[in-house]
């Protein structure tokens, strides 16, 4: 927490205004090719996501206390789509035309292209034991979270 305060990064809003358009345009193409949603149908939804993201970034920059931009963006997105907020159905109707997996594809394309020599070396150096432990960590967190959720949801009578 102390360190999060110290590391409040400077956000260049102007850069994001343009760079977000690039990644959203790529997602828009993917959203058409895979999920087969016409570009013009998805355009308003993409624009809504663009505005939400920019609002989140502005809040990150000027909020009196620091939270990572990802947290602010989530909060803004959640707030404007709450069932009690006027116009949320209109937003939802447009957002439905943007497939979330189509938004994730460019993220992973950049991520594959961004793998550094250092990461490859660290991975090679870590050895197979760490990899085994890592996979157990993923499996363990996933299964135990699901198990706790299952028990509590059953106790609550939700499922």
């Amino acid at each position: 927490m102390t360190q999060a305060e110290a590391e409040r990064p400077t956000i260049n809003l102007l850069d994001h205004v343009i760079l977000l358009v690039i990644v959203l345009a790529i997602a828009l193409i993917g959203n058409f090719v895979g999920p087969d949603i016409p570009i013009l149908d998805a355009l308003p939804g993409m624009f809504i996501l663009y505005v939400i993201t920019m609002v989140g970034l502005v809040v990150t920059k000027y909020a009196p206390f620091y939270l990572p931009s990802i947290a602010w963006i989530s909060l803004v997105a959640m707030l404007v789509t709450l069932p009690w907020i006027p116009g949320q159905e209109w937003l939802g109707g447009h957002l439905e035309k943007v497939d979330f997996l189509a938004l994730a594809t460019p993220v992973l394309a950049y991520a594959g292209l961004a793998i550094t020599r250092n990461e490859v070396d660290t991975f090679a150096k870590s050895g197979w034991k760490i990899v085994v432990v890592a996979l157990l960590v993923f499996l363990g967190s996933y299964v135990s979270s699901a198990a706790v959720a299952q028990v509590v949801l059953t106790l609550q009578g939700e499922i």
Binding site: I130, L135, S141, Q150
Partner: protein, 295 residues
């Protein structure tokens, strides 16, 4: 503060430096466009595996194809299309591209707020699933693999950025604990998304857990892990997509909020305690000097 004022004063300079940046990066984006188109053309594929299925998602192909073009991964990548300039430019775009994805998840959480509040206790308590991480990974690491103090970094959490920062703060990244957390972090970066897609589709198709419970558990990792995880579940249970994604998104937001504290106050102390009882005896100085020159 000073820096901020400077950037506002020189607006014109900022614009021209932005365009210079774009002029050098167009090739990267072109490659990404092609990767996205190819990946979305292949689209979602199902592979039957025993009693379950594994779902292959476009995001997985995009990552693998990106890796194959990356000269750091494959030394002689296809035609030298991607060079180190593109690799360096790509990294900030992961963060930028993840923002609208996070926004999209948020907009799926909002409308389901009533359901989420009703399932509140389950959502909050499943965050403690992290303790299960230790119980799964610790015994194997210590008793079977004879691992040293690396296990404290490796087994205490799913090792996303905040956990790495915490271990780095507490032990230093060149310590054994640091090596452990970095190993899991890198494995997660390289294989986490694929692993989450496989895990979610197998567990989903095996019918061991309710899809809601599996959805909540999708929120424990990074945004791309969550996308892979919920994407797989949503394809197996299309009629419950809305709730699965909403629960995952909500659980992910909770994880940002408390993941660090669960590591700090629960899982690291548990790991330390278990290691003192069952861990290997080793000479003290070995843990601090090794790798000290790496940074």
């Amino acid at each position: 503060m000073v820096e901020q004022r400077k950037s506002e004063e020189s607006g014109d300079a900022a614009v021209s430096s932005l365009f210079r940046k774009l002029a050098t990066e167009w090739k990267l984006h072109l490659v990404v466009v092609v990767l996205v188109i190819v990946s979305e053309l292949i689209y979602i594929r199902e592979i039957p595996l025993g009693p379950g299925i594994i779902l292959l998602l476009p995001l997985l192909y995009a990552f693998i194809l990106g890796g194959l073009l990356n000269p750091n991964v494959i030394r002689r990548s296809v035609g030298g299309l991607v060079r180190s300039r593109e690799v360096r430019a790509a990294s900030p775009y992961i963060v930028i591209a993840v923002m609208p994805l996070i926004a999209k998840f948020g907009t799926l959480v909002g409308p389901s707020m009533k359901t989420i509040i009703e399932a509140g206790p389950a959502l909050i308590l499943q965050e403690l699933g992290n303790v299960g991480t230790v119980l799964f990974a610790f015994p194997v690491a210590v008793f079977l693999l004879r691992m040293g103090r690396e296990v404290i970094g490796a087994a205490h959490s799913i090792a996303r950025e905040p956990n790495v920062a915490l271990i780095s703060d507490k032990y230093g990244l060149t310590s054994k604990e640091g090596t452990g957390v970095m190993g899991v972090y890198i494995t997660g970066t390289l294989f986490g998304t694929i692993f989450f897609a496989i895990m979610a589709s197998l567990l989903g198709s095996l019918n061991l857990f309710h899809p809601y419970a599996l959805g909540m558990a999708c929120g424990i990792g990074s945004a791309s892990m969550m996308a892979a995880c919920t994407g797989s579940l949503a394809n197996i249970f299309p009629q419950m997509e809305e709730q699965i994604v909403a629960f995952a998104g909500a659980s992910n937001i909770l994880t940002y909020g408390n993941g660090l504290y669960i590591s700090l106050f629960v899982t690291i102390p548990i790991c330390e305690f278990l290691y003192r009882r069952f861990g290997r005896e080793e000479p003290e100085p070995a843990s601090t000097t090794e790798g000290g020159a790496a940074r």
